[in-house]
Amino acid sequence: MSHSQLYLNLAVNGLVEGLIIAMAALGITLVYAVAKFPNAATGDFMTFSAYTAKGASVLAGGSLVFGAGVAVLASALLAALAYLLIFRRLAGRKLVAPLVVSIGLAFLIRNTLTFFVGTDPTVLPVPIVRAVEVGGIFLQPLDLAVAAGAAISLAAAFIVLHKTPIGRRMRAVAGNADLARVSGIRAGRVMLQLWLLVGMLAAVAGVLLAAKSVIEPEMGWHLLLPAFAAAILGGVGSPIGALVGGVLIGLAQELSVPLVGSTYKAAVGFVVILVVLLVRPSGLLGRDRSVR
């Protein structure tokens, strides 16, 4: 394989991973915009979804579609419960309260999972299909399916955000919660819709990540740093920024491997955060609300 072919293959892989990161980053940026805190449990929502998909598909005799459907419903429910039982009660508190609680929630979800299923890695029952070569690029049909799934889910999320009353109300609450309330928008209902949407996004991202690699307890936690990096790079609070940021982080991670080795791949997100904070703290597409 020639040099440029190697990089092309890495870029394809990075693009697929980037779309998954973008979904997590979109969840983070939406919660940030509306509920005003960085949700550190985002990754563990994904892990929960991956394990649920595995469990449900095994119960259904190997049906992946059934497993994914159950995972999306269960994760939406989990996120809604997290809002109703926990985050709703923290409204009006300083940012650190929901932030610390989201980390506690991440620990609780992850370790409750491992209490029941252990820490051994497992996989989703995806069919193994031979890669097809297109002009020197080896395309895995599975990767194409994952990318398509991510793209469709992201498109659906953007339609909800920009073309429906639900999205309009969410943006109203994000922009000015008091003004939104005066205009007759019920903030509690908007919040519940937000968490349902965020739960579903994390669920699909978790299933896609599980299909692409293995299911293990730390899979979501490890995606948290790149997802934060994507949200910050795109501009915190900007949904389209999360998409752009996610794809760029995914590409940068994969393309860094020939240069710095695979261990430091996970450090790419950190470096990107540092550079963005140094050069343009508001991110690529964000409004400047970053300074204290």
């Binding site: 009660r89 940012l95 409750t112 252990g118 910050i232 955060i273």
Partner: protein
């Protein structure tokens, strides 16, 4: 005093130091540091490498552990402390992870996942036995008291009043002509130095360092200890560290009572309870179980 009791008290002392440093940074100054384990790791590896590869004495290694961690905090502070408060949280979380990755990847320096062993402790003259363990414990407890008293003096000093004023209303501090940035970065570095010192003590106590000792779990144990003890009480920080470590240690004894549950499941249950405790204390007792009078 049985050697087990000495071991548990030693760990409580080391975590007590870590909790004190977080209490200074978060409780008194409002800095959300989610990367305490990164500074702890830098201190531990500094003491380990200086003590073994360069043959420094244990006392010099401990001082260097604090210094290295403090220096590592400077660029992080420069970059984040002028920005929104949650950026420090995210950057320190990433920093701690990158420290661990670096330890794994740079095996020419750190011996990678195999770690470094043979780290010497002070009081070598006492031989290997309970006297030496007791002497080391005494050292830790003296350090703990000195740090707690020293921090108490600092927060009551004019500098401490500025720090608390910045936490409560930084705009008011600015209007009075004080720039919040400089006190903040000083506190970040001082806290990092204490965490690095604790790392040096831990490296010498165990005699070994490896990347598995420095996972994010450590940071959140420190957070829960601080919150349980009351974020604005140095005595509370030490009590909190004691309560959390006694719970983690004590639950190991359940092993004998619950033979049907595997070791992994028990470890998971412990951590799930830590997560649940973090949620419940933030919901119902944000000022801590001991302190109580905390502004929300």
């Amino acid at each position: 005093m049985s050697s087990y009791l000495i071991a548990v008290t030693t760990q409580i002392g080391i975590y007590g130091l870590l909790t004190l440093s977080l209490s200074l940074q978060y409780g008194y100054t409002g800095l959300i540091n989610f990367g305490q384990v990164g500074f702890y790791a830098i201190g531990a590896y500094a003491a380990a490498l200086l003590g073994t590869a360069l043959g420094w004495g244990p006392w010099g290694s401990l001082a260097a552990a604090a210094l290295f961690a403090a220096v590592a905090a400077v660029p992080i502070g420069l970059l984040t402390l002028r920005l929104r408060e949650d950026y420090l949280a995210i950057v320190t979380l990433g920093f701690a992870e990158v420290v661990r990755l670096t330890i794994v990847a740079e095996d020419w320096l750190t011996n990678g996942t195999a770690g470094i062993s043979g780290i010497a402790r002070p009081f070598a003259a006492l031989g290997v036995g309970i006297e030496r363990d007791l002497a080391f414990l005494a050292l830790i407890l003296v350090a703990l008291v000195l740090v707690a008293v020293g921090l108490g003096v600092i927060v009551r000093s004019p500098f401490g009043r500025i720090v608390k004023a910045i936490r409560d209303d930084e705009d008011a501090v600015r209007v009075l002509g004080k720039e919040p940035f400089v006190p903040r970065i000083k506190v970040l570095c001082l806290g990092a130095a204490i965490a690095g010192f604790a790392g040096g003590l831990q490296a010498q106590y165990i005699g070994y360092v490896g990347p598995d000792q420095f996972i994010s779990y450590v940071t959140f144990i420190i957070w829960i200890a601080m919150i349980i003890g009351g974020t604005r009480s140095f005595l509370g920080a030490i009590v909190g560290a004691g309560v959390v470590l006694l719970f983690l240690e004590g639950s190991r004894f359940l092993r004998d009572e619950l033979p049907d549950i595997s070791e992994t499941a028990l470890a998971s249950a412990r951590l799930a309870i830590v997560g649940l405790a973090l949620i419940l204390t933030m919901l119902y007792r944000p000022g801590g179980l001991v302190g109580g009078k905390d502004a929300r």
